[in-house]
């Protein structure tokens, strides 16, 4: 299965727009999640949990536990929004609504549909990050203007997680089997990427595993810009995510072409 570069053009934007128009009908409901999610976490960890553990030592500095997890919550929201969009939602469009079949009867290629789905998922993830960032900013948990870097980075990270989701959509036989990548990939990543405790707290053998998670690198980048500290070099995180993104865009294109074109 080869990828034809000539099959990808600006036309993907039309499919992106289709998703935007659809989303406009439900956006009010969809904005409640990123609005409330940080409130729940900040309350639970800030009021309930922080009393048990006090401050966190991270990257050589002391900070409150809530301030430590705030950038990680943002990164996890980017991951979830992007990944769930290109898995469950794209699968519904592809399989149950025949949306892709309708689009593929026009001068738009399958490659453009895939790219549009990925870019759309990243857009949606960025929107969620912006809402959350505003709420966290109001609590004084992130520092501006540095924290504004979250916006482009959320889009970048969103692309990476959307691509891996799209790859799973290309290989998964039925929609209920998405439970597997969610349970084996998303959940461990959410827990062990230096999100709720620093990776340096893990035993030495487990650290490289955490560093292999793409979420870890997005968390590190967000922390660097939101609270000004980090443990992994920024260029390593950026390079890792870029390589991850390119690899999974290609894998997503290949798996979806193999699935749909017969």
């Amino acid at each position: 299965m080869t990828i034809d570069a000539g099959a990808i053009s600006w036309r993907f934007f039309r499919v992106w727009k289709r998703n935007l128009v659809t989303y406009q009908r439900i956006w009010k409901v969809n904005f409640i999640t990123p609005l409330l999610e940080p409130l729940f976490y900040v309350t639970a960890f800030g009021l309930g949990f922080a009393g048990l553990i006090g401050d966190v030592v991270y990257g050589g500095t002391h900070m409150s536990y809530v301030r430590y997890i705030a950038p990680a919550l943002l990164a996890a929201a980017v991951m979830n929004n992007a990944f769930f969009e290109t898995t469950y939602t794209s699968f519904v469009r592809m399989y149950y609504q025949n949306t892709f079949d309708g689009i593929l009867a026009t001068p738009i290629s399958l490659e453009e549909v895939i790219v549009a789905e990925i870019v759309w998922a990243a857009t949606k993830a960025t929107g969620a990050a912006v809402v959350m960032l505003t709420v966290l900013g109001l609590f004084g948990l992130v520092t501006f203007p540095g924290a504004l870097m979250v916006v482009p980075l959320a889009f970048f990270g969103g692309l990476a997680f959307a691509s891996v989701g799209m790859f799973f959509t290309g290989i998964i036989p039925t929609i209920d089997m998405f439970n597997l990548p969610v349970f084996l990939f998303i959940t461990p990543m959410f827990l062990f990427s230096g999100t709720f405790f620093p990776v340096s707290n893990l035993p030495a053998w487990a650290r490289p595993l955490a560093l292999a998670f793409p979420l870890h690198h997005l968390v590190e980048l967000f922390r660097r810009f939101c609270v000004g500290t980090h443990e992994t070099a920024t260029w390593i995180s950026l390079t890792y995510l870029a390589v991850f993104l390119v690899a999974f865009v290609l894998l997503a294109l290949m798996s979806m072409k193999r699935r749909l074109i017969q």
Binding site: R11, V15, R18, V21, Q97, N98, A105, I261
Partner: protein, 303 residues
């Protein structure tokens, strides 16, 4: 006149199964061309290759004189496709379905709105402009799919079973609309299971079975050649009738409890049959495309 579609030795194999086994046909401009065949004959596979969705295993496929393998984008800009399944966007309204679809063809906004208004009026969907697609009846949804396939003012329209599952009223309405489109000189390729539909709409047609072309021609000639001028259906044929038929060499199909005799003009056995063999029940009727279809593709079930 140049051919809108030219298919040469088209073959499609999936994991060792040959769905389309070397078909060739050409469709002239302005034609209503039928692609008929039983389930699994290779109709939909052929259509999927025609609109560039599925790459052919072998053979050549030219539309508007261009090769679909390389110039698919140019070809699809001037093509409208109506799928067998409902591929309308359930998340959007009737109007939005047309607007968004126009965007896929890069039709400019103003033009898209004009075209949407024209098509909604033409297909009598004006009053449901803001309805959600899932609120539409089967007939309305089908008309919207047709409208959507015409949004880019195509030179070629491909219809995959456009009236399957519709009630008679809706079906006749779709036919009327298609006949109006025919008058504008639009070229249409249509697949269908309804022989009445093919007979009414098609200028020419091809019957395919097991991935191969069985016959090609215009409906009238095909009827004459393969089902005679008139047909007598006799219920409960007896041995005497059977021997009479074989003695006179009358073309027939013996279905056990029923016998069909295909009579040609100038064959003066009708009176004899009426007097001697129509003891139980006899039907005298003209031949139809359905007779041709059943004679050529057989009567056994396919699925």
């Amino acid at each position: 006149m140049p051919d809108i579609i030219k298919v040469t030795n088209l073959v499609k194999r999936f994991n060792g199964f040959t769905a389309v086994d070397g078909i060739s046909f050409s469709m002239p401009k302005g034609n209503f061309y039928g692609l008929l065949g039983p389930n699994g004959a290779g109709k939909t596979t052929t259509i999927r290759m025609l609109y560039g969705f599925s790459p052919p295993t072998e053979g050549e496929l030219r539309i508007f004189g261009m090769d679909i393998a390389t110039e698919w984008r140019k070809i699809k800009t001037k093509m409208g496709i109506c799928h067998q399944e409902n591929t309308l966007d359930p998340d959007l309204t009737v109007e939005q379905n047309l607007h968004i679809y126009a965007g896929y063809f890069a039709v400019p906004g103003k033009k898209a709105r004009e075209r949407t208004d024209e098509l909604l009026a033409f297909f009598a969907l004006d009053h449901r402009r803001h309805a959600k697609v899932r609120e539409l009846s089967g007939g309305m949804a089908r008309r919207l799919i047709l409208a959507r396939a015409l949004i880019n003012q195509p030179d070629l329209l491909i219809l995959d079973e456009p009236t399957t599952g519709l009630d008679p009223q809706s079906r006749h309405q779709v036919w009327e609309k298609l006949e109006e489109l025919k008058k504008t000189g639009l070229s249409v390729l249509i697949t269908t299971h309804y022989m009445e539909e093919a007979e009414r709409l098609c200028d020419r047609l091809v019957i395919i079975d097991h991935g191969r072309i069985v016959v090609e021609g215009d409906p009238k000639t095909l009827k004459c050649e393969h089902a005679g001028d008139r047909i007598v259906e006799i219920v409960g044929p007896d041995p005497e009738l059977r021997s009479f038929v074989s003695e006179r060499r009358i073309e027939n199909d013996d279905l056990g409890t029923r016998m069909l005799l295909y009579l040609r003009d100038g064959n003066e056995v009708e009176d004899t049959i009426r007097e001697r063999f129509c003891m139980d029940r006899c039907v005298y009727r003209g031949s139809t495309l359905e007779d041709v279809f059943l004679r050529l593709t057989g009567r056994e079930l396919r699925e």
